[in-house]
């Protein structure tokens, strides 16, 4: 009956697509939607990462990064305080100024601004802070190769920033 009808009216055949084709079209569409959403997420994630990695100069596409010196000036004015530092540690470092709009305490704000740049701050007195590079202790293994023997581990234990280890000299 249907075959007869279809043979008489071929136009109806065109309007009734093959079910496998429908599934194929739908899945392609869904994939496309997921791809677009994924692309948007990746862009946002990239922006987030770049905003918290201000050590590198601002990319040409991102004009919103500000020199650290200007950010420090703004913090100093807002909190009525003064920063002391060696300019060589501040030059060439950039920060996203959006961080200033976050509702943070002063110590939280300074941590968020300075720590990604490997800088520390310390309160000298009521109105003065000093900024200096994070001191990074370097550990060097004392184990040395001896002919025919594997390299032995050289464990160290860090206690309150003082080093103690069980490896003797040599």
């Amino acid at each position: 009956m249907i075959k007869k009808l279809l043979s008489k009216h071929p136009i109806l055949m065109l309007e009734m697509p093959d079910p496998t084709q429908v599934v194929y079209t739908l899945s392609t569409g869904l994939l496309l939607i997921f791809f677009i959403i994924g692309l948007g997420f990746c862009t946002t994630a990239q922006e987030l990462i770049s905003s918290f990695n201000p050590q590198s100069p601002p990319p040409s596409s991102d004009l919103h990064q500000q020199p650290l010196s200007e950010i420090l000036d703004q913090i100093a004015r807002k909190y009525q305080l003064s920063f002391g530092f060696s300019p060589k540690y501040i030059k060439g470092k950039f920060v996203d100024p959006k961080i200033l709009k976050l509702n943070l305490r002063l110590d939280q704000l300074l941590t968020r601004v300075l720590h990604p740049l490997e800088l520390h701050f310390e309160k000298v007195d009521e109105r003065n802070y000093v900024i200096y590079p994070a001191r990074i202790s370097k550990l060097e293994s004392k184990s040395v190769f001896k002919a025919g023997l594997p390299l032995l581990p050289d464990p160290v234990k860090i206690c309150q920033s003082k080093l103690s280890g069980n490896s003797g000299p040599g």
Partner: protein, 196 residues
């Protein structure tokens, strides 16, 4: 006048050019005289700063003369100083430095406020060589300053501190350059940098 400074002038001045002699550091705010007479500051190494009405700072320490103009115009006369240039005209924000015995003149634009902050009991440093900071501690506080590592003197520092409490500045310098700073009455010892 800043600490450890001396100004000589004629107490019986009754007209004509106004002349003072400065050893040390002073900030001048010169009012115009009725007869438009000039005002001249002469330093021990014969640098003469001549003005009509203006605001400026002159500092002479360790045979080095610095002049910073805040407002107005001044002439710096070097004819008797041994320098090659005879006359310099300064505009607001100009800084001139002359070392006695050397034929070099350093001239640059600066923010005058950092050179006159001592009037308001502040010490302001803007990318200032450590050598200059320690010189201020020596001449204005009377400290004997000993630096174990002379390469430190080329380092520079930025900051603003009360001139009435120099300990904050010393702490900041110690942290900034990872130094051991010892203060014993009138002596300051800057120890070696801690290499990490």
């Amino acid at each position: 006048m800043n600490a450890n400074s001396r100004l000589r002038y004629r107490p019986d001045w009754q007209g004509g050019p106004r002349q003072v002699y400065l050893e040390g550091e002073a900030y001048f705010d010169v009012a115009p005289s009725g007869d438009q007479q000039s005002f001249t500051v002469t330093t021990p190494n014969q640098v003469q700063v001549q003005v009509l009405a203006t605001q400026f700072m002159v500092r002479e320490r360790a045979r080095t003369t610095q002049v910073v103009l805040k407002d107005g115009r001044i002439h710096v006369n070097l004819a008797n100083s041994g320098a090659r240039a005879a006359d310099l005209r300064l505009h607001p924000g100009d800084y001139v430095e002359l070392v006695d015995g050397l034929n070099t003149i350093t001239r640059k634009k600066v923010e005058p406020g950092q050179y006159t902050a001592w009037k308001d009991n502040r010490l302001i440093f803007q990318d200032t060589p450590l050598e200059d900071i320690l010189s201020r501690l020596k001449y204005e506080y009377g400290y004997q300053v000993e630096v174990k590592d002379s390469t430190l003197l080329k380092e520079s520092f930025t900051g603003s501190y009360s001139s009435l409490r120099v300990e904050a500045l010393l702490t900041a310098l110690a942290r900034s350059f990872a130094l051991e700073v010892k203060q014993d009455q009138q002596q300051i010892i800057l120890g070696h940098q801690v290499r990490l």
